[in-house]
Structures are given as structure tokens and as C-alpha cells.
């Protein structure tokens, strides 16, 4: 596709519910990131994939958060037993190669706004 696509655009979950957020990176993009952006804050790093390999998951806030990218393209961020503090916009970013992003910046999706009630 022309850009990084994220779905759903909005998600309302009841506390305790599991959610799955999807990211479709630009075709052929090797590097993929997930960020969490709370209201009025800057994005915070969650995890990074290079192809299907999850090379850094140091930003995942708890073991309720899990990300996968089994075929090296689409990625899913799963949050189990959602809590109110999980309410945020979840952003996905990608680049053709880590070096391209390194030198030119990354392409971000529009995000999924998660509201936990």
C-alpha cells in the first residue's frame, strides 16, 4: 500500500477485555516499530521487529502486552486483560531497511486510539 495502515482506527474495550491491534507496513518494509502515545505526550517505544524477528521488546510495559510479526509483514499488538492505563494511541512505524529509517526517518501510521472503559 501507499502508507502504513493500522486497524481498527478506534477501539473501545471494557476493562479486562483482550484486544488485538493490526499494522500493515508498506510492502517490503523490513523494520517495524510499535509506539504508545498517551494523550498530550510524545510516543514511547514499545517494540521493534526486523522481518519476523523481534529484536527489542524492552518497552512493553507488562507481560499483558505481546507483539508478533510471524511472516515478516503484518504485525499484531495484543493486549490482554486491558486496564484503564492502557488507554492511548498505538502507533506503528516502518522503513524499507533499518538504514533507510536511520538516515531518513520512519513512516508512521495514523494509529489506533484505544479507550478502556
Amino acid at each position: 500500500g501507499a502508507g502504513v495502515s493500522q486497524s481498527p482506527r478506534y477501539k473501545v474495550a471494557k476493562r479486562g477485555q483482550d484486544v488485538a491491534l493490526r499494522c500493515d507496513p508498506i510492502s517490503g518494509h523490513v523494520s517495524l516499530f510499535w509506539y504508545q502515545q498517551a494523550l498530550g505526550q510524545g510516543p514511547e517505544f514499545l517494540t521493534y521487529f526486523q522481518n519476523e524477528a523481534q529484536l527489542d521488546k524492552s518497552g512493553l510495559p507488562s507481560d499483558r502486552f505481546f507483539a508478533e510479526r510471524p511472516e515478516g509483514s503484518v504485525s499484531t499488538l495484543k493486549i490482554q486483560r486491558t486496564q484503564q492505563e492502557d488507554s492511548a494511541v498505538y502507533l506503528c512505524a516502518s522503513s524499507f531497511h533499518w538504514l533507510q529509517g536511520w538516515d531518513y526517518g520512519y513512516t508512521f501510521g495514523s494509529g489506533t486510539r484505544l479507550t478502556v472503559v
Binding site: Y35, F45, Y48, L91, W102, G105
Partner: protein
């Protein structure tokens, strides 16, 4: 732990005026990024600054980097309404881990 600060956090300015946004970071890093975000939209990459003394310009925006002072500036010249947005700086922490600043919300008034 790398910390990134921006100031001001909110900036309201009149069209035609000049202003500077500052980004300070706490530990050594070899590159710094500036992004723009419109409300409800994704982040758009503006500049990547790769070395001490780097300066890049695009239209009315100019970014610079002083790695010794751990400071980057984003200078706005003769602001126009279209520049209204939130501007973030982001600093490489390690590997592919980046730390973003809190953002500067800019409003350009007619």
C-alpha cells in the same frame, strides 16, 4: 536513562513572526529527528540530523544540532497558519530504540 525535553510545550505565535523550539537530551546520541504531527494524524518526518553542527532547512523550518551541548533547535521563520501542529524531537537511545520529547504544540494565529 535517556531523557528528552522540549520547550516551550505550548507556543502561540502570530503569522509572520519568528520563533525557536528547543530540544535538550540527557545522554550522548549520534542522531536526532524532528517530526510533525497534525491532530488525529500520523507523524511526518521533517529532519534527520546526523552530526554535530548539522543544519537542515525546508521552507520556513530550519533545524540544527549541537551534540556537545546536547541541544537541537527548530527555527520557524515568518510563520504561517499551515505550520500549526505539534512538533516532536526524537533521539536515538541505542540500537533502534528512540526516545521522543513531549512535543511542542504550535498555534499560528492570523
Amino acid at each position: 536513562e535517556l531523557k528528552v525535553e522540549q520547550n516551550p510545550l505550548f507556543l502561540s505565535m502570530q503569522e509572520g513572526k519568528n520563533y525557536t523550539i528547543y530540544c535538550n537530551y540527557s545522554t550522548t546520541s549520534d542522531r536526532l529527528y524532528w517530526y510533525r504531527q497534525d491532530p488525529g494524524k500520523s507523524l511526518e518526518s521533517l529532519f534527520v540530523l546526523l552530526s554535530n553542527g548539522a543544519v537542515k532547512q525546508e521552507g520556513r523550518l530550519m533545524a540544527s544540532l549541537d551534540t556537545k551541548a546536547r541541544l537541537s533547535t527548530l527555527h520557524i521563520t515568518a510563520a504561517v497558519h499551515d505550520l500549526s501542529a505539534t512538533y516532536f524531537c526524537a533521539v536515538n537511545n541505542y540500537g533502534q530504540n528512540f526516545v521522543f520529547g513531549p512535543g511542542t504544540r504550535l498555534s499560528v494565529l492570523p
